[in-house]
């Protein structure tokens, strides 16, 4: 996006912002760095945003959690401005080198992770089998299948238990969400078109997606940012599927948990109720809400492409959330429904020795059903 396009498209936001600082005080990155999202708008108000030093650093520290938008008195979508500035930085060759590197990885591996010739599904046990003539596609997603295969096997276990037939795509591509987050919209658009073709070609009625990133891409980012519509099949996040298929769920060992709203699933896609309904229906499970929840939930730090650019910050943000908001609740575990949040929390809890278990929603449900 060119400079002129930004100033034209975000004219109102830039003029209306009163620089009150609500956004900065609610920002997860601000807690662990000197990033100040209010100053991002200020740079645009004063037309200082073309400074390469600014473009190189500031737009890349936002996790696109959109919490600031919820609290802004004008309801300004400041993270959208972040997106535009990322595009501008790319255009002016001021983006961090990791951004183009990620594009190369995605092009080579059909995934944002380096696979070195392995199959995307190689870590999933037991291996998944497509059933005959199903009306449902199980879209795996790169992060769940490569980095958190437990999410895939748990979801598959519940589907099998409920008699839900499904098939999987051979050579499932990356959905392109990481590229969209980093402002590589043209490149992502090509990918999105291919994904739309592939899903249409599968000839199914519904697509079940265990990754909130892919789900957000399919339902919001594709149509709104890339102008690509998925046609022919209804897209369901796995929590929506699970919520419709709940009967006699009971945990063997009682457990107190809290639920973390992933930004992509909550503030982006508007799904707050389904995961809670599932947790509330499980016998032996007690759900304790954090002080900040639903629209006001705080980010884990793992969104907006931040982990691709900075490995330390997402963990520091997650550590703060776990120790400040979750530990005082006295719960045994934190449940979430996004593989990025799951990974980030799990890694942080292990590394920082925080006495909390981290589960994906599908894992909790899988615990309640027999093989």
């Amino acid at each position: 996006m060119s400079n002129e396009e930004i100033t034209e498209q975000y004219k109102e936001l830039i003029r209306v912002c009163a620089q009150c600082g609500t956004c900065t005080a609610s920002c997860p990155t601000k807690e662990v760095s000197d990033f100040n999202i209010r100053k991002l708008v200020r740079h645009l108000q004063l037309e200082l945003h073309e400074d390469p030093e600014f473009l190189k650093k500031d737009p890349w520290l936002c996790t696109l959690c959109f919490r600031c938008k919820e609290l802004c008195t004008e309801g300004l979508e400041i993270p959208k401005l972040v997106w535009a500035l990322r595009e501008l930085a790319l255009e002016k060759n001021a983006a961090p080198k990791e951004v183009r590197e990620l594009l190369d990885i995605v092009n080579e591996n059909k995934s944002p992770y380096v696979l070195k010739g392995r199959e995307k599904t190689s870590r999933i046990t037991p291996p998944l089998e497509s059933s005959k003539d199903p009306k449902t596609l199980f879209w795996l997603g790169c992060t769940p299948s490569i980095k958190a295969p437990n999410i895939i096997s748990s979801t598959a276990k519940v589907m099998n238990n409920r008699g839900q037939k499904f098939k999987i795509l051979k050579d499932e591509p990356c959905c392109g969400e990481p590229l969209i987050c980093l402002g590589l919209l043209d490149e992502a658009k090509d990918i999105a078109k291919n994904v739309a073709e592939a899903i249409k070609g599968a000839g199914v009625e519904q697509v079940i997606v265990p990754c909130s990133g892919c789900y957000n891409a399919f339902t919001k980012l594709y149509p709104e940012m890339l102008g690509v519509e998925l046609s022919g099949a209804e897209v369901l996040h796995s929590s929506q599927f699970l919520e419709k298929n709940l009967n006699n769920l009971k945990l063997e060992k009682p457990m107190k948990v809290t639920y973390h709203d992933p930004c992509t699933l909550g503030r982006h896609a508007g799904i707050y109720d389904e995961p809670r309904k599932i947790l509330e229906k499980i016998g032996g499970l007690e759900l304790i809400e954090m002080d900040r929840n639903r629209e006001f939930s705080s980010c884990c730090g793992g969104g907006g492409g931040l982990p691709s650019l900075n490995q330390k910050m997402p963990m520091e943000i997650a550590e703060r959330k776990l120790s400040r908001e979750v530990l005082p609740l006295g719960v045994d575990a934190l449940v979430t429904s996004c593989p990025m949040c799951y990974m980030n929390f799990k890694f942080t809890a292990t590394k920082k020795k925080i006495p909390l278990k981290i589960f994906d929603l599908s894992e909790i449900v899988a615990m309640c059903v027999q093989d």
Partner: protein, 668 residues
């Protein structure tokens, strides 16, 4: 028999230059030349300023010398000078409705200044249309109606009190109605006032006493307006006097009843900070000083138990048989002063009001600082009754916020500053007070100096908006904010959070607006007729506004507006009768089929149809002349064409359109 010869119509056309406004674009002389040739035009001239004294004199002269019976002035918009010229022609002996205005400024010169030739053509078309219409104009009479020389003031806050006093002092009867048991309104809750620090009650109670003493003012407390009919000079108002269960004449205000009453409920006067009994006095200085029984909570009334108040009352003032009573009142004018109430911030989840006990509003803080309030003047933390050391005041809580109230409530900055200074001077000189704001609005006289003093006295102003107030791990409140002056995020652990919420219209305003047919803005504040030139008038003649009912304002502005409303009301009732315009809707009785569409359509309830007797023939619709505002909606809605608006008849309009649309040389 020979028909009497129709008298020839004699029209005068007067074209205005409006200095350069019209003449720089339109060839005025050419328009005059054109007008002279139009049929029935006996005279035409131009003038630099038709509205000037000289211009008006030339119209009067022409009327008498040329024996004109119709006048057309081609100048500006009728909104500006129609009235001026109607008076001119009336003074010269014509009927004011035998005058027509052609707008060649707003409709021609101002919008076509780059095309003078075409503009002149258009001006001619408009003048031709006006002449065509002028031929059809008829004389319309005026009527006079008698006036009830008294005023109803709705709302007994400081605005209503002031308006009532001013009207009464001019020698007219006033009825002051308040829905609460006492007059006084919100000001009685405020403890102190900014920027002078006057004790609110000390300046309010003398005014209340003055109202009580004034023989021309009747106070009706615990009463509500339930119906309003009629029009300027002749309103008929129904007022419901709610059952008080305590005889006003007998009650001596001793309080024995309240002391013995076993029922305790939340005290709404103290914004829920304290308790009161089911029989109570609204506040110690209440006027009238008559106790009242809250029938929802009294167990004698609800369950027929107890009745101890009646037993202990030394004056035998309590009577459980009281019932609500409707009374009818005739008044000539109405002043609406229903005021405002504090915005309820419960919906702003990030501030945790209603969730954390130690998050309160400024009015709740004020109630605590009242020596006769729930904590006898001591500020405490509601959660543990300890003395707070660290305060955080959050400005614009729900104000200037697109999600709640986008407007500025004008009083919250100063009331927060007032409370901050009261805490430092009366509660705890060592208190730490953070005041988070985005802009300080210190617009009034002495307000900026007041703000400056607060900074000097150590109130910590932080330019920031609070992102959230949460319970921290140690159970203390934690607020996160960015000090935008230094760009750093601060974490404050306040003992008490005080939300400076804005003002919203009193809950009674919506219903009352419907009853009085007044307009509201999108926030339900009542709308004045013109924001600058008619700030206390409403679209209904005889009904006026003042105080916070019209919009948030401070005490000086409320009082000033109240006095203005009083003058406006006095203007309406000071004469024994008023003249009214009769250029109104008129029903052709033969064409009316009593369908009733006009009744639905009329925004002023000015049309009625008498109910049909069984088997009989219905009466045609009739217009209540004094109520009709000549809007014409009924005429447009009437399916049979039975209703016409006088002075805007179909014939007149068709001829005018015809005149405008025909070629300039075609005959009209």
């Amino acid at each position: 028999m020979k028909k009497p010869k129709k008298e020839k119509i004699r029209i005068g056309v007067f074209v205005c230059h409006c200095g350069a406004n019209i003449a720089n674009t339109v060839d005025v002389k050419d328009v005059v030349k054109f007008a002279r040739k139009l049929p029935d035009v006996t005279f035409a001239m131009d003038h630099q300023f038709m509205c000037s004294e000289d211009g008006q004199n030339s119209i009067s002269d022409a009327i008498s010398k040329k024996k004109l019976d119709r006048v057309v002035v081609a100048s500006c918009s009728p909104r500006l000078h129609e009235h001026t010229f109607r008076v001119t022609v009336a003074d010269a002996g014509l009927n004011p409705y035998q005058f027509e205005m052609a707008n060649i400024r707003e409709n021609v010169s101002w919008v076509h200044h780059s095309e003078p030739k075409k503009a002149t053509e258009k001006a001619k078309h408009i003048v031709k249309g006006a002449v065509a219409r002028a031929k059809k104009l008829e004389a319309i009479d005026q009527m006079t109606v008698p006036v009830t020389q008294s005023v109803l003031v709705i709302g007994g806050g400081i605005a209503g009190i002031q308006a009532a006093l001013d009207v009464a002092d001019m020698g007219f009867q006033v009825t002051l109605v308040d829905k609460k048991p006492s007059i006084g309104g919100n000001m009685a809750r405020l403890v102190e006032t900014f920027p002078t620090g006057d004790c609110a009650m000390c300046i309010l109670s003398p005014k209340m006493a003055e109202v009580a003493r004034n023989p021309a003012i009747e106070i009706l407390t615990y009463s509500e307006v339930v119906d309003v009919k009629g029009y300027i000079g002749n309103f008929v108002v129904t007022i419901r006097k709610k059952a008080r269960y305590v005889d006003k004449k007998k009650c001596v205000g001793c309080g024995d009843c309240s002391e013995k009453c076993p029922v305790e409920v939340e005290n709404e006067w103290d914004m829920g900070m304290g308790k009161r009994k089911a029989i109570y006095l609204q506040f110690p200085q209440a006027l009238p000083r008559t106790y009242v029984i809250d029938k929802k909570n009294c167990i004698k009334i609800t369950k027929n138990k107890c009745g101890v108040c009646k037993k202990v009352c030394p004056a035998d003032a309590i009577d459980f048989k009281h019932k609500d009573k409707d009374i009818e009142l005739k008044v000539g004018a109405i002043i609406v002063a229903t005021g405002a109430q504090e915005f309820d911030p419960t919906g702003i989840l990030e501030y945790g009001y209603g969730e954390h006990e130690d998050v309160i509003t400024q009015l709740q803080l004020a109630r605590m600082m009242d020596p006769s309030g729930p904590t006898e003047g001591k500020v405490i933390k509601p959660s543990d009754e300890k003395i707070p050391k660290k305060y955080l005041m959050i400005q614009c809580a729900g104000s200037r916020d697109e999600k709640y109230n986008p407007y500025c409530s004008r009083v919250c900055c100063m009331s927060a500053i007032k409370h901050a200074m009261m805490i430092l001077s009366e509660q705890d000189p060592d208190a730490e007070i953070y005041l988070a704001y985005t802009d300080i609005r210190s617009f009034g006289k002495g307000y900026e100096e007041y703000y400056k003093r607060a900074t000097e006295e150590g109130v910590r102003f932080v330019r920031s908006k609070i992102a959230e107030v949460m319970k921290g791990s140690k159970g203390k409140l934690v607020a996160r904010l960015e000090d935008t002056d230094v760009g750093e995020v601060l974490t404050i652990e306040p003992d008490l959070v005080v939300l400076s919420t804005g003002l919203v219209p009193d809950e009674s305003a919506e219903n009352l607006a419907r009853m009085l047919r007044l307009e509201k803005d999108s926030y339900n504040f009542l709308t004045e007729r013109h924001p600058k030139l008619a700030p206390v008038d409403t679209k209904i003649d005889g009904i006026y506004l003042c105080g916070c009912a019209q919009g948030p304002k401070d005490i000086p502005d409320s009082v000033a507006q109240a006095r203005a409303a009083a003058v406006a009301a006095l203007k309406a009732i000071s004469k024994k009768e008023i003249t009214m315009n009769l250029a109104i809707a008129h029903v052709d009785e033969g064409l009316c089929n009593q369908c009733g569409i006009c009744i639905e359509a009329c925004p002023y309830e000015a049309i009625e149809i008498e109910e049909k007797e069984e088997g009989g023939i219905g009466q045609p619709a009739s217009v209540i002349e004094a109520v009709c505002k000549s809007c014409g909606i009924c005429a447009a809605e009437c399916p049979t064409g039975a209703i016409e608006l006088k002075h805007y008849t179909t014939n007149q309009m068709i001829d005018q359109i015809d005149g405008i649309c025909r070629d300039l040389n075609e005959k009209i």
